[in-house]
């Protein structure tokens, strides 16, 4: 099963895509993914239920978040009400240690995203803050990467033994599925996604042309 683990809808301040249009695009263009995770900036979307839309298009649509720390942006998978009570998702200066420890307590998985990107990626902050403890997975393929950003991410992952996921970081409809993550088994919900990530059974894949 292939899921795009990093996408934004109009719920994000810089997102321009409606979720239904993502689905239409995937099916019309035969994008080879089975679903995607909506990781809205600095929030968790507690309101939307995409179950019916997913069934209509035969896609798995899950929800996560993208929060901001002193090490840059971090995807969070497996968000629960208890996790949301642990820290303010809207805070743009969250301590990464706090995010990682809260995720550990509540069965969620933190993943620094576009870590090779200047300013908002983890690699840019290693010299100042040191190598953070508790990071196990980083995003090694990001559909919005420029220059050598993915290479930097992959070199960092190799150096520190991190596993890598892929995500499109789509903000507009036509960017969905440019990068994704392949899992060996079907994933139907956020709990199964977290279990698969914790098991380390996945690989980053790219469909960029």
């Amino acid at each position: 099963m292939i899921l795009d683990l990093h996408a934004h809808s109009i719920k994000s301040d810089d997102g321009r895509a409606k979720v239904q249009n993502y689905c239409q695009w995937i099916r019309t263009r035969n994008i080879p993914i089975d679903g995607f995770v909506l990781t809205e900036h600095r929030q968790f979307d507690n309101e939307s239920d995409y179950g019916e839309l997913g069934r209509e298009y035969g896609l798995t649509i899950l929800k996560g978040s993208e929060v901001e720390t002193e090490y840059g942006h971090v995807l969070v998978f497996g968000v629960t009400p208890a996790l949301q009570a642990e820290f303010d998702f809207a805070n743009i200066r969250l301590p990464l240690r706090q995010v990682i420890e809260a995720c550990e307590r509540h069965g969620a998985v933190p993943v620094p995203c576009h870590p090779g990107r200047p300013r908002v990626g983890m690699h840019a902050h290693l010299a100042e803050h040191g190598v953070p403890e508790g990071v196990r997975i980083v995003e090694t393929l990001n559909g919005g990467s420029r220059d050598e950003e993915d290479s930097i991410a992959q070199a960092m992952a190799s150096q520190y033994g991190y596993r890598g996921i892929g995500g499109s970081d789509a903000h507009i409809v036509s960017h969905i599925g440019r990068c994704a993550t392949r899992f060996p088994h079907a994933i139907h919900n956020e709990q199964e996604l977290v279990a698969a990530l914790r098991a380390g059974e996945f690989e980053a894949v790219t469909f960029r042309t």
């Binding site: 321009r16 239409q24 019309t28 919005g144 507009i172």
Partner: protein, 137 residues
């Protein structure tokens, strides 16, 4: 193909690719006309002294290119909105490719939504956004 009516538009159709003229001469003409004249747009060396990678194509000029592409495709389209996110600078004298693709159609309202991207020669997205246009029924 030139589009005249919303009924001619299909989801996923690509607008003809547009390769804008980002030459220094053209940018100079634009910024003078727009009263945006300044060395960061018209002088590579001066722009580099400001820490930029080179002279910049102004954002409003990039938006003009996007609008021009839409009107080449649909000359009668009323552009209601061009909403852009500038992820990286567009540099004077470098080659870019502007692409558009239809991602939503409201036939009853005559409204079409278009994804827009400005990419460089390496295929990196420098600017992305959406446009909403209205077309006759």
């Amino acid at each position: 193909m030139t589009i005249r009516h919303v009924s001619e538009v299909e989801f996923g159709v690509e607008l003809p690719v547009f390769e804008p003229d980002t030459s220094l001469d053209n940018v100079r003409r634009f910024v003078r006309a727009a009263h945006w004249d300044g060395p960061r747009f018209t002088d590579h060396d001066a722009a580099r002294k400001e820490g930029l990678p080179g002279a910049l194509v102004p954002g409003i000029m990039s938006q003009g290119f996007l609008a021009a592409m839409i009107h080449r495709w649909a000359p009668d389209a009323l552009i209601e909105n061009v909403d852009t996110v500038f992820r990286a600078p567009v540099i004077v004298d470098e080659a870019y490719r502007i692409a558009g693709v239809v991602t939503d159609i409201d036939a009853a309202a005559g409204r079409v939504e278009i994804d827009l991207t400005v990419t460089n020669e390496k295929g990196e997205t420098r600017v992305f956004g959406t446009a909403t246009v209205r077309l006759p029924a």
